[in-house]
Structure formats: C-alpha cells, structure tokens
Amino acid sequence: MSQFLKNGLLFALFATVGYIALTVVWGSVMPYNFLRPNLNYRMGSYGHMFSRIQEAEKAKKVDVLVMGSSHAYRGFDPRIFEAAGIDLFNLGSSSQTPLQSKVLLEKYLDSIGAETVILEVYPALFGSDGVESTLDLIANTPVDCSTLELVAEVNNIKTWNTFIYGVVMECIGKREGFEEDAQKKDDLYISNGYVQKELSYFDGKMKDSFSLAEFNPDQFHYFEETLHLLKKRETEVLLIFAPITQKLYNSFDQIDDFEARMGDYKVPYYNFNERLELEDTIHFYDGHHLNQRGVEIFNQAVIELLKK
C-alpha cells in the first residue's frame, strides 16, 4: 500500500508537470480555435479588453464606472458623457456576467474610485455559466490570485486549461510585448473603454434570440455580493437594462420575472427598452447593439437620469 501511495504521488507530480508542458506546447503549435477546443487563449480578442484593462490600470478617478457586457462597452460612450461634464469609464467585457463584474470591481474600484457605478443588467447573462467572459479576462487581464479565484468559481475545463496557458504566457512576459490595434475591422477603440462601430444598420436578421431556459442562481448570488460590496463602500448604484432590438426583447418570455427580481434589490433600476422608443432598423447595427445614432439617444437619456 505504501508503494502504491508513493508511486501515486510521484505520478501526480509527473502528470502535473507533463500536463502543463503539453498545454503550453499544444497552445503554441495548434492554430487558434482548431484542435484545441478546451484552450481558448486570445490576447487582444474581440471587444478590445486588453486596451481597456491597460487604461483601467492607469485610470484617474472618474465620476461613473460602467460594468456589463458588450451592451455596456458598445453602449456607453465616454465622449458624450464628458461633453455633459461627467467623467465615465467603461469596464464592460464580452458576455460579462455578474461574477466577472464582481471580480473586476474588487480589482479596479479602488483605483478608479467612481462615485456612481452603473451595472448594465442583461437577463441572458444571469443564466450564463460565465465561461466565455472568463476566457476573455484570462487572456486580457494580468493573471493573479483574483483570476485564479474566478477560474475556480467557474470551474470549467476550458477555463482551467486557458488559465494554465495564461500563467505561463505571463511568466515568459508575452503580455508585456503585446500591443493591441485601436482599429480592428470596423471597430474603433475610444479612450475610457468604449468601442465604436462604424455606422451601419440592423437588417432584421437575428442570429440568436433569448433562448434562456432558466436563470443560474449562482449569478444572482454574485450579483448580490456585488451590490453588498458597493453598498459597503457607499457607492451609488444604478441598474440599467440597456436597449436591445424590440425583436430580441419580445422573444424573451421571462422578462416579468427578471424585472421582479431586479425590483427586489431596492436599487434604482431602469429598463431602457421600456423608457425609449428606438427603431430596430435605425438605431441598431445588429440584434443586440445600438449603432452610434442609438448610442447618442440612449446616453443623453442616461445623462438626464444621472443629473436628476
């Protein structure tokens, strides 16, 4: 039995080292997204998270910090807020769920020091497992203990493999030499976390709809923890359901349930799908996201709200 235990431990050690080595080799040799389904490390990926985090690390104090998904980083334009005398930083990331919002806030709230935090809330992300957003953060934020915590919370083989690869990339200094282009196809990165899409219009064809089967209770738990954290710091909080196309909005049949849950938190909650009258084919560039014309209208309405 002692031989079994001794060899078992030795093999575990050997396997750990071997697994890490193979992950690094596999990730370096295999082309992105082919033959490595459970290793998805892409620095400077879609959404400009790398540039946003670099700015966040050096950011001065701002008035408003926005957290949320692509609806946030493509929906809150800091230039419009600046013109109204409001300093805003956008810390949204692709498919950011309440879990990632919480981790990012814990990491950057002190340095950004916003008086008001806008939490962009999107029902589908309360049903998400958070894998996609975690992969984005591993590749585009400095890997540290909070990243490990996040990976452990999500606990998915994809995030673990990507984390292992990310740690090694961090150790060999691959992040330091990387520079992300501000312009990527028709996306332009604007200082303070915004991504502006070249003006285009929604053609009415939906790639997806709200096919949410059920909410994930864990995400509500993280959301409550975030609210608790902000309350403890006496930060003002606004919950905003940013505009999406009516076509998408109407396909979601759990909206009443979601509204009721948001109402329970006793924090100001605004559903801009009900407050604004926007046209799918004029104010959006796809089923989810406002184009710059829509952003102008939406942001003016938010400014009005903030000034009140």
Binding site: G18, Y19, W26, F34, L39
Partner: protein, 483 residues
C-alpha cells in the same frame, strides 16, 4: 452518480481510503461499506429507486435460502417462478408497461375496437435491466444446484448492489462475484495499478471518443431529412464509435474501479470492431449479456442440440430478446432481428466459430483478406446501429434510404466539419492504441509494458492531456443507463 462527474471523483477516493485504511482485515465491515457506498451511489440519481433494489435483494435472498432448504421439487420450482415473477415483473412494469399498452391499443384500433387505457408516466429506474438479470442468475443457479445460497445477508446485498457494475454491468454471475465477497481481501498493488490504468482508458473512451463522436452523430440523426447520403453514413459510423466508446468505456471504468477494491469482474468487450464476422463480433460485444442469454435462455431452449430448425429458431429468439432487453421500442427489436439475419448464413454453414482468436494474433498487421473481413463486419454493424439509434422505425428507414440515394456521391455539407475533423483525428489515435493493445484485456493493458517508466508515464499523461483538451463542457450520461 456518473463515473465522469466531479461527485464520483470525490466519492471514489473517500470510499477507497475508508475501505483499505480503516477497515482492512475486517471483511464484514468492508462488505457493509460496499453496501452503503453502493446505495449512496445509486440513490444519488433518485433515492426512491433504492426501494426497488432493497426489495429485489430481500426477495432473492429469502428465495435462495428457501430453495436450498426445500427437498420438494415442486416447491423449488414455485420459488423459482416467484423470483422470476418478481424480478421480471418489476422490469416489465417499469420498462415495458407503456410499450405493451400502446401496441395493444394500436392492435385493437386496427381491428376496429377502441381500447381506453391511459399510459403511465413511469420513470425507468437506472440500471434495472442489469441488476435484475444479475439477481436472476443467482436464483436460477441455486435452482439448478450449481450454487449454494449465501446466508450472509450483507455479502449478498453487496453482490446485488456492488456500485462499480450496478447500473450498466458487466452483468456478473453469482458464481463468479459472490464468492469474492466471502473471502478476506488484501491490497494488491498490481491489481490496483491495473485498475487505475483501465479507468484511465475507459474515461478516455467515454469523454473523448464517445462524447465527441456524439456531437456528429446527434447532428446527423437530427437533420437526417436534409442531409446527403455520404453525411448520413458518416453519422452512422460516428454513432458506431460513440456507442462503443460509451459502453465499453463504462465497462472499463467499472472493471477498473472493482480492481481497486480487490475484485475481478468479467470482461465485457474484447475489441469487437476487429471482428472478422458477425459471430465473432457477438463474442466480443457486451460479452456479459451475450453469455447470460446463452446460459439462461439459449441452452434451456435446446441450444444447438436439435436440428437446423431448432438452431435457427433459438438464434432468432436470442437476438430478438436481446434487442427487446435494450428498450421498449420496435427499433431495438428490428436491430436484434437484423443481427440474427447476419448471423444466419454463418450458422447454417457452420462457420460461426471460425474466428475465435483475436485477428493477427502472431502478427503486427492483418492480411488484406482479414482487413476486408473486418471492414465488411464493421459496415454490417454500422447499418444495424441505425435502427438502434433512430427514434422510430420510419426514421431508421428514411435514414437508410438517404444513405442509399444518389446524394451518397456528394460531399456532405454541414456546419460541423471542424468537429468532424477533430473527432476523426482522435479516432485515429484511439484505433491505433486499440489495435496495438488488442492482445490485452483492454487498449492500454499492454501498451508500454516494456518501456522505461518515464516513457510509459509520459504516454499516460498524454492520454490525460487529451481528456483535458477534448472533454466536452457538459458531462453526458452513459447511453446504456437508459437500458
């Protein structure tokens, strides 16, 4: 509890440590631990199912004792019928009630009578077909005088509920497994290491091969109406590997786990896709079920002792019953019938025992003839699997007619090309390992046995790495749990 779940990854080491470190040398307590662990393992799905297994255990325990004590042949027969009635009754109710009801209704309706009876929402208890057959073998063997009944209720309960093979086999014979609960067990290093190796290979087969092939197979069967014939054939081939990886993977894990606790279970798969004819295939596929039917149905029916007519009749009965055992659906019955038809020419020409040893036993590679025979057998099984996998008979026929259409000569156009490329490369690796490991009990059994330890371990780490890299995000239940 699924073998490929985090729950089981925590459960197994806990039971292992208590079993060997706390209870070593205390046989009754070790057996009791197995019973408790097995009930936890089984109750993880639904604690209500435990009532059935406890009921089945108690009934067969007392029937076994009463049969052995009775000198009257009539009473012994009656007791056997009670055991058969209880076990098959439970199986029949939970598995076949709705099937028979629907078919009676359809038959009456065809004759012009409307029969009003509503089907029940019966939840099929996991693994009922497996443990029912295992306890039946106990009662039948005692009736035949081949086995002495066990007085130790804990040992008997452990035999019925032994968690590694409880829900999907191998279906053990009482004469093999039960005595292993009676004698003290001491830790055997080689057996445990071999068990871990077999678990590793089983896990690879399940989560890498079966679950990745399932993506393609599920897509093809779901979109069969709009798919080219070539794509449909690919879907059926991927299903063939899915079901093999899934079921033999489960068996490998079950046998490996049992070895960790000092038990030897019977072999359930012996590289069936390297078979040169369908008779060999059936000696290598789901061996514990095939031999169960041979011992408890085929031989009592007369086996091969009678004339050609009786042999043919018995063969058809075995295959049809085997198909029906898999599920209450006509697709399984046709699958069984089709295999009987494949078997028939071999039986009539008395060539059904031509290939006993594994192919190319003393050579590295097969001859061209052997390769052609293996390919032929594989294609036959793939065509039969279509009935097994299809939702209904009409779906299976539509699928088959799609394959045998002109569109067979067009390149399949579907969105999973990348997944298919990945799965195909994984299959190549899998088949290479299985081929070079075919003389062992399972793929990894002998691979690297003569290599230096670092190389051998390096190979195992590579297999672990492939599991980590190709494990699907969501765990998928084993196909055979539904049976």
């Amino acid at each position: 509890m699924l073998f490929n779940s985090i729950d089981f990854a925590i459960f197994l080491p806990i039971v292992f440590v208590i079993y060997w470190f706390v209870l070593q040398g205390r046989l009754r307590l070790q057996n009791l631990l197995i019973v408790v662990a097995s009930y936890v393992f089984y109750g993880w799905w639904d604690p209500r199912f435990l009532a059935l297994i406890v009921f089945s255990t108690v009934v067969d325990y007392f029937i076994g004792l009463s049969m052995a004590q009775s000198q009257r042949a009539g009473l012994r027969k009656l007791l056997l019928w009670v055991s058969l009635g209880v076990n098959l009754g439970l199986l029949g109710f939970f598995k076949y009630y709705n099937f028979f009801l629907e078919n009676f209704q359809a038959a009456f309706s065809f004759l012009g009578y409307e029969m009003s009876a509503s089907s029940l929402q019966v939840v099929l208890p996991v693994g009922i077909s497996f443990y029912t057959f295992q306890t039946l073998s106990y009662s039948i063997d005692i009736y035949r005088g081949k086995l002495e009944p066990r007085r130790d209720f804990i040992a008997f309960s452990a035999f019925v509920s032994f968690f590694p093979q409880l829900v999907a086999g191998p279906i053990e014979r009482a004469s093999n497994l039960l005595p292993q609960f009676q004698y003290p067990r001491s830790f055997n290093y080689s057996l445990a290491v071999d068990g871990l190796r077999q678990i590793l290979w089983g896990l690879f087969k399940k989560v890498v091969i079966a679950d990745n092939c399932a993506i393609i197979a599920n897509y093809m069967f779901a979109h069969s109406a709009e798919m080219e014939g070539s794509g449909l054939l690919l879907g059926a081939i991927f299903f063939a590997f899915q079901i093999y990886g899934d079921f033999s993977g489960y068996s490998d894990i079950a046998i490996g786990v049992a070895r960790l606790f000092g038990f030897q279970l019977m072999r359930n798969f012996a590289f069936p896709y390297f078979s040169r004819d369908i008779a060999e295939f059936w000696r290598r596929w789901h061996i514990s079920l095939s031999t169960w039917f041979r011992d408890y149905l085929y031989i009592p029916l007369g086996g091969s002792r009678g004339g050609t007519g009786m042999k043919v009749r018995n063969t058809f009965i075995i295959f049809v019953v085997s198909g029906f055992w898999h599920g209450a659906n006509w697709t399984f019955i046709i699958w069984g019938l089709l295999n009987a038809l494949y078997f028939l020419p071999l039986l009539l020409s008395e060539n059904n025992r031509r290939h006993i040893e594994i192919v190319a036993r003393d050579r590295k590679w097969p001859t061209i003839r052997e390769s052609a025979l293996m390919l032929n057998t594989f294609i036959l099984t793939v065509l039969a699997w279509i009935f097994f996998r299809a939702d209904s008979l009409s779906h299976a026929l539509e699928y088959l007619s799609g394959i045998f259409s002109r569109s067979f000569f067009r390149w399949p156009d579907f969105e999973l090309i990348e997944s298919m490329a990945t799965s195909s490369l994984l299959l190549v690796f899998f088949l290479i390992v299985e081929w070079f490991g075919r003389k062992g009990q399972y793929g990894l059994d002998r691979i690297g046995s003569s290599w230096p330890r670092a190389y051998r371990w390096g190979f195992y780490v590579f297999v672990i790495f492939l599991i980590g890299m190709y494990l699907p995000s969501k765990t998928t239940p084993f196909i055979y749990f539904q049976f």
